[in-house]
Amino acid sequence: MIKFLTKNPFWIVQIIGWFVSGLFVASANKSGSNIQALFFLFGSIFIVGIFSTSLLRAYLKKFVSVEKIGIKQIAIIFLGIFLTTISWFLLNFCFGYLVGLLVDSVDLHVKKNFLDSPNIGLFVFILNLFLIIIWTVLYYGIKMLIDYNRSRIDRLRLRDKIKQEQLNILKGHINPEFMFTSLNNIKGLMLEDVSDSRNKLTQLAELLRYSLTKNNINTVLLEEEIAYVYNFIELVFIENKTASTIECHIDEATKKLEIPPMLLLNMIELATKHGVLLHNVKGEIFIHSERREDQLFLTVTHSGASSPKSQRKVLEKSIQQRLKLLYKEEAHFSRTFKEGHTILELVLPIIEEKITEV
């Protein structure tokens, strides 16, 4: 029963509303000495009211659709109101008669009132009409409020879903081109150095596993990501290990901090593929992490300028969008060029508890 009521707010409002109106009309009655008359008034409002307006609701539900409201629909509503008023009026009369059959005195009282002064009949009719109009206005008011609320919740849910989808698309992954180039390089390396190519193949497999399994996890530990950064670097420099120097300073206090997976890897991709590898000179890469108050600063600095190609811009944009979705305006990614070095800086807010599922 309770379940039925919570699922159907209409019936709660309907019953309580009419009960209160019934009491109100009955108590406002001046000639209220007669207990039967009070009972009649209350009954005529409460029972007949519920009955006729429930009919009206069924009628409105069947013939009126609020979505395409127009003159025709409004006319149908008014016709409904009018018919309901008439039926209520007649039912009132019948109700009075029924009560009268059971209790003589009321019958007389009511009959006398109605027949003696038609004004009272008119008054009751207008009162009924008035009540029905109020009821209709309330009915649609509440209905719209509930609909609005429902659609607002739907909208919010939808927006969340879209956000999650966007995040899934943007989620860093190992660039497929990198995958295949590495595989091809390893295939070529087998002709020269079998044991080294075996190692490289394992590293590539680890990286692939990381990319595949961390795809639906929102955060990883910084030190975990760093381990894969080394794998990535080894594979990028598969041809000539001495072509670049890499230095890594990871502050102890930051190792256990949680970061979204693949962000640092993407920065390393920018620094290598779109950075040092473009220049035919020995390159340098510095990786640095530091905690300042409640912010984590991750910087990747590489020698030389970065590539002007569109792939680089696409990658940077994807980093920016991911940050925006995850942290709104609280995280930043920037690239600056200073004294022959390109500095990629990522600033993340430190959130002590896990980032909750978006």
Partner: protein, 244 residues
Amino acid sequence: MKKIKTVIVEDSRLARNEIKELLKQHPELELIGEAENVDEGFELINASKPDLLLLDINMPEKDGFELLEMLDEVPITVFTTAFDEYAIKSFEYNALDYLLKPINDKRFSQAMDKVKATLEKSGTEEVPANTERLTESSQIFIKDGEKCWLVKIGDILLIEIVGNYSRVYFQDQKPMLYKSLNQVEEKLPVENFFRVNRQQIINMNHIKNVVPWFNGKLKLSMNNGEEVEVSRRQSYIFKDRMSF
């Protein structure tokens, strides 16, 4: 059979290793040079005039397409790429193949068979000693916006001036070529191509019919339905050439 002179342009040494390993199974292909970037490749191709170019698309600095744009004449090209198939798909009209790395042996053999077939078809005529001009079977690379074409000279119907550049008509395509008409004319084989007026050059093999026009001029309809007017001066020469 004459060996097929082959050149590899590929930035990664290991990837070149790979291709060389594959080439070992095809003794009819002779590797005459390799380059690790576009500029070296450009020098190499101009100096050695290879029959076949194995070209990596994705290279740091300049990419494979830029190399093709730099070349006046493009050898038969087989692209090698790790992933960016979409780049290959930008080709509208082509006589080329592409291989995905790591390359499958069988797939490589198929591509080489195709190359051999193409070469046999066009290679019967001896290439004239004068290498300054292109021949009927030479192909040029055209890139207009996002689209690319490799066009055989013999397939070109008409070239006309558009501003400082030229528009090349072949089959049902007409992309822009970012070279002036005079620049183009210098390279075209003299025996087939004829400058009909200031604006247009036609391929005489693609004329459908010739009608006399007023003032001693001629009007030509081309195989693709285009009509061109021959200037008075050129009409005399044209009649002479066609021995009217």
